[in-house]
């Protein structure tokens, strides 16, 4: 059997078995009970929870895009409501993977927005890898990440002492030790996907730089081999 990545649904079933207890600490803003709790503290707790969810979602082998978008939007909404420069009381450490909570709390909110945007952008490049060439469209190999990093971050592998915060000032520094030379080659421009009846060249397309023949041959072998594996047996008509 193929090893499976983390399954969000399996975890949610296991967690859902616990009966929900009414806990005013966790009530959303706008609810009368929140009046008894400092709004900034409640918002901060939600913020941290959302960041953890985002991190966990990105650790999945293939993130659920709807879940990701909703969590990111919720994070943005919380961010917008939180006082930008107010001094926050010390937060209790959240029961998460050791080391992550402190790092996330130390990250700045401004950089988080940029990082979330970068993560979504990286998803786009990675998703483009799976595009098989489609007939009736300009033939071209699938797109590939141009210097971007895989969104599936290894749990704590990238949180070495030198890297510090997980989500600070973009992601470039976190992947210095990752060999992305194959992806940085920019051989493939992001191909137009599907059969758009109004074909357009998006502004994001990039021109392919030069490659030496050995690298090109290797990449073509990988591509041909992948297509041969992915092509299903033709059904009898």
């Amino acid at each position: 059997m193929l090893s499976k990545g983390l399954k969000r649904k399996q975890e949610e079933e296991e967690e859902g078995k616990e009966a929900l207890a009414v806990d005013t600490w966790w009530l959303g803003p706008g609810h009368p009970a929140v009046a008894h709790a400092p709004p900034a503290v409640a918002s901060r707790s939600l913020f941290d929870l959302s960041v953890l969810k985002l991190h966990h979602s990105l650790q999945q082998s293939e993130p659920d895009l709807q879940h990701l978008v909703l969590v990111v939007n919720t994070l943005r909404r919380i961010q917008a409501c939180m006082a930008p420069t107010a001094a926050l009381p010390p937060m209790p450490s959240l029961p998460t993977a050791p080391g992550i909570a402190d790092n996330l709390l130390a990250s700045s909110d401004a950089s988080l927005s940029a990082s979330m945007a970068s993560l979504l952008e990286d998803l786009s490049h990675i998703e483009g890898l799976s595009q098989a060439p489609q007939p009736l469209v300009d033939e071209g190999p699938p797109g590939h990440p141009t210097g971007g990093a895989p969104p599936s971050l290894g749990a704590l592998d990238l949180l070495g002492p030198a890297t510090g915060c997980l989500l600070v000032d973009g992601l470039e520094g976190l992947f210095e030790d990752t060999d992305t030379s194959m992806y940085d080659s920019e051989l493939w421009a992001p191909a137009s996907e599907g059969h758009k009846s109004s074909p357009e060249d998006g502004p994001g397309k990039e021109e392919a730089p030069e490659l030496d023949e050995a690298e090109l041959d290797y990449l073509m072998d990988v591509l041909v081999g992948t297509q041969a594996l992915e092509r299903p047996p033709g059904p009898g008509c």
Partner: protein, 449 residues
């Protein structure tokens, strides 16, 4: 029995009919039912599960001797529709879970259905074989070739009866057209095309052509950092082959006309209800995300399901729904906890009855809810083994939201959120419903007088 007519004078009494699936407490994840669908006549009932299997039940002929026992559903065919796959480019495993099954209208003796996982749609043909040819000249009865020198006479092969065998064969595989996860498939009323929708795109297929599809909706932004909304469900109009709707994670529904342009990035109609300021919270967007959208059989209305409500929209009025039904409003004060354990992202489906007078949807604790649009009455029922005596009438359930709990009520804090009814189906013309509760399929019928 015409559903809906009786509802004017009496409420439907639902009785337990059958339950399919294991009684064991430990659930194998592969057995979890992920989709349920009656065919157009209601003769067949198909389920798909997380293990990629499809099980088809067939209703037995009604017996004159047992008029009180309407035809039961028995297993007709079981087959492995999708297998786990591996995307080598992305080093990702593609789940075999069946996300949706949709039947094609029957046009000959065989049955056809579409089944899909996250990436690939397949067209399956389910056919019966009850005869086999015998009396070949060049082969013996075991199929071995005969020595031509021993053949002295010629005979005409004949068809002889055999034990009924039901075969399921994949006739088409529609692959490599979706980057993101397929959430919906819908057969067009022209019976020649169908659409498949993922998080960001919708493709139109011809049943005969598997190596290409037309992209008819694309909401992927040029810069992914601008992504704030995804497609959650899509469906063709039941009668107008040019019209379809799709819903979004922001609680909006767009109706598109394929005659207007090839790429339907401009909607013809836009349905959205203004947010209620008194209910505004950090979770407003999440709970407004539409998990299912269904046209009424008449084609005049659409029904949407979000986390707490079911809404009915008139196609002629875009600014608000004409009806809103609270499914489990007692969860509104618990959204934070539900966000923490991810239950707030559960995707509940909703269904119409045959006459569009009653709508049904699932909830937690194996509860499911029905709303009569004419009488405005609603009922909460439970799918459980305890209520599984043959023809036992289901007792309405009630959730206690505060104050003193009555004897047969259940408090909100006691609800089991791991028991969720996400998938239900209603027979196209009779009061027979199928309710999927994790790995069990319950079939209920209305009481026959």
């Amino acid at each position: 029995m015409i559903p809906g007519i009786g509802a004017f004078t009496r409420d439907i009494l639902w009785c337990f009919s059958q339950v399919k699936g294991t009684m064991e407490t430990g659930t194998t994840e592969a057995d979890i039912i992920s989709t349920v669908e009656f065919n157009h006549t209601g003769e067949l009932l198909a389920t798909g599960d997380k293990g990629g299997r499809v099980v088809i039940f067939q209703r037995e002929q009604e017996s004159k001797n047992q008029v009180h026992r309407r035809g039961e559903y028995n297993v007709y065919s079981t087959f492995q529709s999708h297998e786990p796959e591996f995307d080598y480019l992305k080093s990702l495993e593609i789940e075999e879970k069946i996300n949706k099954i949709r039947w094609l209208p029957q046009q000959n003796a065989a049955y056809f259905l579409l089944s899909t996982n996250d990436k690939t749609v397949k067209l399956w043909k389910v056919s019966e074989r009850d005869k086999r040819p015998e009396g070949y000249n060049l082969k013996d009865e075991e199929g071995r070739l005969r020595d031509p020198a021993t053949i002295t006479t010629l005979r005409v092969p004949v068809l002889r009866p055999m034990d009924l065998m039901v075969e399921a064969t994949p006739r088409r595989v529609f692959a490599n057209a979706h980057t993101y996860h397929i959430n919906s498939i819908s057969v067009n009323s022209d019976y020649e095309t169908y659409m498949s929708a993922d998080d960001l795109r919708i493709n139109l297929w011809n049943f005969e052509i598997t190596n290409q599809s037309f992209n008819i909706v694309d909401i992927k932004p040029a810069n992914m950092e601008e992504l704030t909304e995804v497609i959650t469900a899509a469906e063709f109009h039941p009668h107008h082959c040019n019209t379809f709707v799709y819903s979004s994670s922001k609680g909006t529904i767009r109706l598109c006309d394929m005659r207007a342009s090839a790429l339907c990035d401009r909607h013809t109609k836009f349905f959205e209800e203004p947010e209620d300021p008194s209910n505004r919270s950090f979770f407003s967007e999440i709970i407004s995300s539409i998990s299912d959208v269904k046209f009424s059989h008449s084609g005049r209305y659409i029904m949407t399901r979000d986390y707490l409500t079911v809404k009915v929209w008139d196609l002629n009025m875009e600014n608000r729904p004409i009806e809103t039904y609270q499914v489990h409003d007692y969860l509104r004060s618990k959204l934070c906890s539900l966000y923490e354990n991810d239950c707030i992202f559960d995707k509940f489906e909703c269904v119409w009855n045959g006459s569009d007078s009653v709508i049904m949807t699932g909830s937690y604790n194996n509860f499911f809810r029905m709303f009569d649009r004419n009488t405005k009455r609603d009922v909460t029922l439970e799918a459980s083994r305890e209520n599984s005596k043959p023809r036992a009438i289901l007792k309405p359930r009630k959730v206690c939201v505060g104050g003193k709990r009555r004897k047969d009520e259940i408090s909100v804090d006691s609800l089991d959120f791991s028991k969720k009814i996400l998938h239900t189906a209603w027979h196209p013309s009779e009061n027979i419903i199928a309710v999927a509760a994790t790995n069990n399929l319950y079939i209920f019928q209305d009481k026959v007088n």
